[in-house]
């Protein structure tokens, strides 16, 4: 959309409008699809960027906005869409991978939480599911997937920031993602989930220190992305297995995606390293998104060539 400001944060209402406008003004390339409903009955949409073609294409999935307070994450998904649409004709790298790959982008998964972080509590993290007769709210959606659910780095206390829910996939937001990904998993090559903060590219797994079978390749690709980012922008990202370089956690979407057979699965923890933490100022959106764009396209390019 003309005049949309990508260097400011936007409330959900504006992101909904942006999605509709993006589809309308790029109808040859972009479609908006229904993914599911939130706890508070809001509709979750994702965008599909597909160049018309007769050949069967593989899929890159990227989700943003799992944790409400990490506002840079939805800002990046929007930036990514903008960059692809602005440059796919002129940038040979983008043009090439779009011939083989469809991009599925979910700008905000935890819509209820995101709205709550705008209207009530900026540092809210979880979704807004009620527990204990409405005295306690929220499940951490990134502890709610069916990957060693509830075993490590979680809490069963609903007032905790890392409450894993009442069971695997107990939350409608989680189920919405799972249903689509399960249906498409044989075509999905790469699952990217965007978070903040800490400047990491994290590989599976968080729930065990046992490396996945394709660990060497997973690490190589992530290290290539981090090196490209460091070379061009000087920003240092650490690469490694979640349980080894960050902390152990179970029930994450990254682990789940790899466990169901998606070969390349990464969590990005964007800027910064703690100066602003979860309250990254708006003037950091552009540099953060520019460097992340390079890292993400480096990964997509590798997957495409493979």
């Amino acid at each position: 959309p003309e005049n949309y400001n990508y260097t400011q944060y936007h409330p959900m209402e504006e992101i909904y409008t942006w999605m509709a406008q993006i589809q309308k003004s790029n109808s040859e390339l972009v479609t908006q699809h229904y993914l599911g409903e939130t706890v508070e009955n809001r509709t979750i949409y994702y965008l599909q960027i597909s160049q018309p073609s007769d050949r069967t294409k593989k899929i890159i999935w990227m989700d943003c906005g799992i944790h409400a307070r990490e506002w840079i994450s939805p800002a990046f998904c929007q930036w990514f869409v903008k960059e692809i649409l602005q440059n796919y004709e002129s940038d040979p790298k983008i043009r090439k991978f779009l011939q083989n790959l469809d991009l599925y982008i979910l700008p905000v998964l935890n819509i209820d939480g995101y709205i709550y972080s705008w209207e009530t509590a900026r540092l809210w993290r979880k979704n807004r599911s009620p527990h204990l007769n409405g005295t306690c709210y929220g499940t951490d959606l990134n502890r709610n997937f069916n990957s060693s659910w509830g075993t490590l780095g979680v809490s069963y206390n609903c007032s905790s920031e890392i409450f894993c829910g009442t069971g695997p996939e107990s939350e409608p937001e989680t189920r919405a993602v799972v249903q689509l990904i399960e249906r498409k998993k044989s075509d999905i090559l790469c699952y990217l989930t965007i978070h903040s903060y800490g400047q990491y590219i994290l590989t599976p797994y968080g729930s065990t220190t046992e490396p996945p079978s394709n660990n060497e390749e997973l690490m190589h690709v992530a290290q290539t992305a981090a090196a490209a980012l460091r070379e061009k922008y000087g920003t240092s990202y650490e690469v490694g297995s979640t349980s080894l370089i960050l902390y152990s956690n179970s029930g994450s979407s990254r682990d789940w995606a790899h466990m169901i057979g998606i070969p390349f699965s990464y969590t990005f923890e964007l800027r910064d390293k703690g100066t602003y933490g979860f309250i990254l100022p708006a003037d950091q959106i552009q540099p953060t998104c520019e460097e992340t764009m390079l890292a993400v396209t480096t990964i997509i390019e590798y997957v495409d060539q493979k």
Partner: protein, 92 residues
């Protein structure tokens, strides 16, 4: 979040780690990094948000236990106000 501060601490000993875990659990502080008190480790960064009403108490306690700290964010609300302008018309 008026007057809330985010502190950066790198505990050096097991005793310091235990004291920080104790402070977290008794004062219900908001751990930013790591997310779980059991993941607090000697030599590792700790980022913690302290409500305004507890800032002095926490700092006194850290001083008593010779735990050095740095203030990452002096006033959380000030930063929150900057990141989401009240006037949304300017966004468009």
């Amino acid at each position: 979040y008026n007057g809330d501060q985010v502190l950066h601490i790198v505990p050096e000993t097991l005793q310091q780690v235990q004291h920080l875990q104790h402070l977290h659990s008794t004062l219900l502080l908001d751990l930013w990094k790591p997310l779980l008190p059991e993941d607090i480790q000697a030599g590792e960064d700790l980022h913690i948000r302290v409500p305004a009403s507890l800032v002095q108490e926490v700092k006194d306690s850290l001083d008593q236990h010779t735990i050095s700290y740095k203030i990452l964010i002096h006033d959380v609300q000030e930063l929150v106000d900057q990141s989401a302008p009240k006037d949304t018309s300017s966004r468009n």
